[in-house]
Subunit: 507 residues, 2 copies
């Protein structure tokens, strides 16, 4: 009896064990060979290819074995997904194959070969809606280890879904997301069409940089790279990071301000830079980081700093137009997880003077002094008033009080309590600060002294103007802020790949 | 008598003092008014405009009064120059005007109005050769203070000129140039056509970045920005700068290596970054800086790391082709001050394996172990041998010994004493280093331990691979090195706007 049972078991096992070459774990890829495989992108698969055998590299997004003989998969490749069906047959696909495949943990990367099949009905849960794969081969290229820190479904829900009364979902906090940023960055939405909101955010971020450069290069600007390690805390010592520099000390640049101006003194005429800036501010708010990307520009002008203001104005309209036309699908994707009203702007940007803003605030019951700086609260309230009155999420505030601006800001020639300086606002919050700079070395030194700046720390900068300098103006833009306010995200950390704040240095 | 003399003096003075509105110092530009002046670029002036009255903003490059009645000027605007002639007349241009104008120090910025005049003969000392300006108005916008640190003529001579026996020029050292970088960056050449070698160098640098991005964006790469402040000295502690970070400590990233790989783990598939990298190496050589620009890229591949190598290879050929076609005049300009043989490369780049390089060195009398790293000296000698044998200044060395590469380098599957890693060389010196990276977290941890890396410092990095990672490869390029070796400059500091080394933090 025992012998017979053993023989039967062996026969069953053998019967279940055919076609073992069709599935399994691949050895670690060490570039063993280059056959020139032809893998297809999931986004390129559709019913038009019905009957074709194709191979994909994708993640197991979901898997579900409905019996020992049949399993369903969703495979994901960036923001595209496709359904896969695995059914046993008598020669190539055994129960063992089905068991193996359905046990592969989600998020593992697999190589799947299958036949494209036209589906009877539209599949609503995947981006490829008219076709699926009849799986023939299934290999694990990279398997996940241990449990995921959170489920991608949980992480991809929008606020709307949480607010429904009849369901209960776990909310993945921003803190948890950032602790496991590598998984968070993959996050997909499952409802209707899948979306990868986080990829969308960073494609838009990348797009803003491309548009910024494209516009400025067309206006004869040149790209520069200025040092981030500097010898003196030249823009004020309080919020600067210090570095141990061999046997001495150095500092991290709080902006490329002084250096981009020095390039103007070197006759570069028009320069821009995209680079990290560092601020040792102990601010734990939703809009501050200790490291962020600065999009900076500076230009000589002929007569009036509004020549620069015009360029900056045009630049932003160019970026907003470009986002709308070139990044429509990414914007849609992000909005599906982070719903918000479309960003409103006009072809010709609204410009207000500071004193008009003060007036507007007063008319609406806010007390503010003529030369008082805008607090965050007042800034936001002003944005709200502007939006109501002018129907725009984007505007320029010109002629700030001199006292609230940096020492190198040029005073207004008509009233030196004001200055030739401006901020740009998106959804009521500042995203650019700029001004005409003082190009006269004697006056510059005088103003630095008024501000209590130690002249010795900025001597090379002041000396630059002694060799002759044209009048010039420029501005600095916070990249993550533009992304954040354009998409109306609730926290700037969502628009930084690996954000840094006083409490976060990892990952 | 005295009265008569006084009266005559007054009459003479009055006679010399007419037309005072046509010259003088302008008040500091504070954007007093915006008339919409129409200033012309010097490069747009030619004999075709003869008879037109034009206004330019330019520097006084040279000035020479041949008498009290006549003065000659050369005005410079970036790399264009034009001659100006100032002659007294009876109504508008007085001797005082001539005296005032010829006393304006060189390098001052002036606004000059004049009539374009066709010249009788070709002017060989200015870029505008068929026209000059008959000066009518002459205003100082920004005057230089004090003596220039060196004369631009001295600073713009080529080695050839110093080597002539019959002349004696002062040589401006690199040290002096860098101390006064703002003036140095303007440096022009006076012989034949004027050239501004330094502007040329940085236009080429800017061009390399544009070409790098243009190529990679066309290959579906996305631009990323990764943090420069990091929580742990993750790539080895010896040459990392430490920062005081609020109450704790942080470090400056020595490369975006770990972060760009983490983006691959987040399914970005293909990423690039242009950003500063920081190395606390106490090396005072002609090719080391403590801060330089890294052009980094990383990509998932299907089968073999040579997919990435092919992209990198194509990328460089695209950059070299682009420089040749789009930056021909800048290259010519730089070469006129820093003469060098044209950079030679082939449409299909030469690829050698490390063991072939060892063989080639041995055949030429150099002793080197099979798995020994290339010293700078051997690297250069190898470049010389390659150039002789293959007529190229650009080649790829593949399959480096595993032991000389970083811990995350994938070993060769056929012989684990070698690795799937490569360097690219220009004029015999390394400008890119790259490899297939280990994407298996268990093996990665094992290799890190072999290298003595403290696993705790790279835990978030290792964890990234536990969520599934595709095989991937990439590389990091030193921007200033590419500029330096392409143009065959003698020191990397010439290809950095404001270079940083262990001894230089200013300007």
């Amino acid at each position: 009896m025992a012998e017979r049972e053993a023989a039967e078991r062996a026969a069953r096992a053998a019967a279940e064990n055919y076609g073992t070459e069709n599935y399994g774990k691949l050895p670690m890829n060490q570039s063993q060979e280059r056959k020139g495989v032809n893998r297809i992108r999931v986004s390129d698969i559709n019913a038009g290819r019905a009957g074709e055998t194709v191979t994909i590299r994708a993640r197991v997004h979901t898997s579900r074995a409905t019996s020992a003989k049949l399993a369903f998969f969703v495979f994901r490749q960036q923001d595209s997904t496709i359904q896969g069906v695995l059914t046993i047959d008598e020669t190539n696909i055994s129960k063992n194959f089905v068991k193996f495949a359905s046990n592969v943990p989600v998020e593992s990367i697999v190589i799947v070969e299958g036949i494209v099949m036209r589906t009877q009905e539209e599949i609503k849960s995947t981006t490829v809606s008219d076709a699926e794969l009849q799986i023939k081969k299934f290999y694990v290229m990279s398997e996940t280890h241990g449990r995921l820190p959170f489920s991608l479904e949980d992480a991809s829900r929008s606020e709307e879904e949480f607010n429904k009364e009849d369901v209960q979902f776990s909310r993945v906090t921003l803190e948890t997301r950032l602790n496991h940023r590598v998984v968070d960055l993959r996050v997909s939405r499952m409802r209707a069409l899948i979306t990868v909101a986080n990829h969308g955010i960073f494609r838009i971020q990348s797009g803003i940089c491309q548009l910024f450069r494209e516009f400025l290069l067309s206006k004869s600007f040149i790209e520069i790279h200025t040092p981030k390690i500097i010898g003196a805390a030249s823009e004020g010592g309080s919020n600067v990071f210090s570095i141990k520099y061999f046997k001495g000390e150095a500092f991290l640049a709080q902006s490329p301000q002084l250096y981009k101006q020095m390039c103007i003194c070197s006759d570069f005429e028009r320069v821009f830079e995209i680079a990290p800036v560092f601020r040792a501010e102990d601010s734990n708010t939703h809009r501050h980081m200790t490291e962020f990307m600065g999009l900076d520009l500076e230009m000589a002008f002929e007569e009036h700093y509004h020549e620069a203001l015009d360029i900056l104005d045009e630049l932003f309209v160019f970026i907003f137009d470009g986002l709308k036309t070139r990044y429509a699908s990414e914007i849609k994707t992000v909005k599906s997880q982070y719903p918000s009203a479309d960003f409103e702007y006009h072809p010709k940007t609204l410009r207000l003077e500071y004193k008009d803003a003060v007036q507007l605030l007063r008319e609406n019951g806010t007390e503010i002094g003529d030369f008082e700086d805008l607090s965050t609260e007042k800034e936001k309230f002003l944005g709200k008033l502007v939006k109501e009155k002018y129907k725009t999420d984007f505007y320029i505030l010109d002629k700030f009080p001199l006292a609230v601006r940096p020492f190198y800001t040029m005073p207004d020639s008509n009233d030196n309590r004001y200055s030739n300086s401006y901020d740009f606002f998106m959804r009521g919050q500042e995203i650019l600060s700029g001004a005409q700079r003082i190009h006269d070395p004697v006056f510059l030194e005088e103003r630095a002294k008024v501000h209590g700046v130690d002249i010795r720390t900025i001597q090379p900068y002041i000396d630059s103007f002694k060799r002759g300098a044209p009048p010039h103006a420029g501005g600095g833009i916070g990249l993550e802020r533009v992304v954040m306010f354009y998409l109306n995200l609730d926290d700037i950390r969502r628009s930084s790949l690996f954000p840094r704040d006083p409490k976060r240095l990892e990952p």
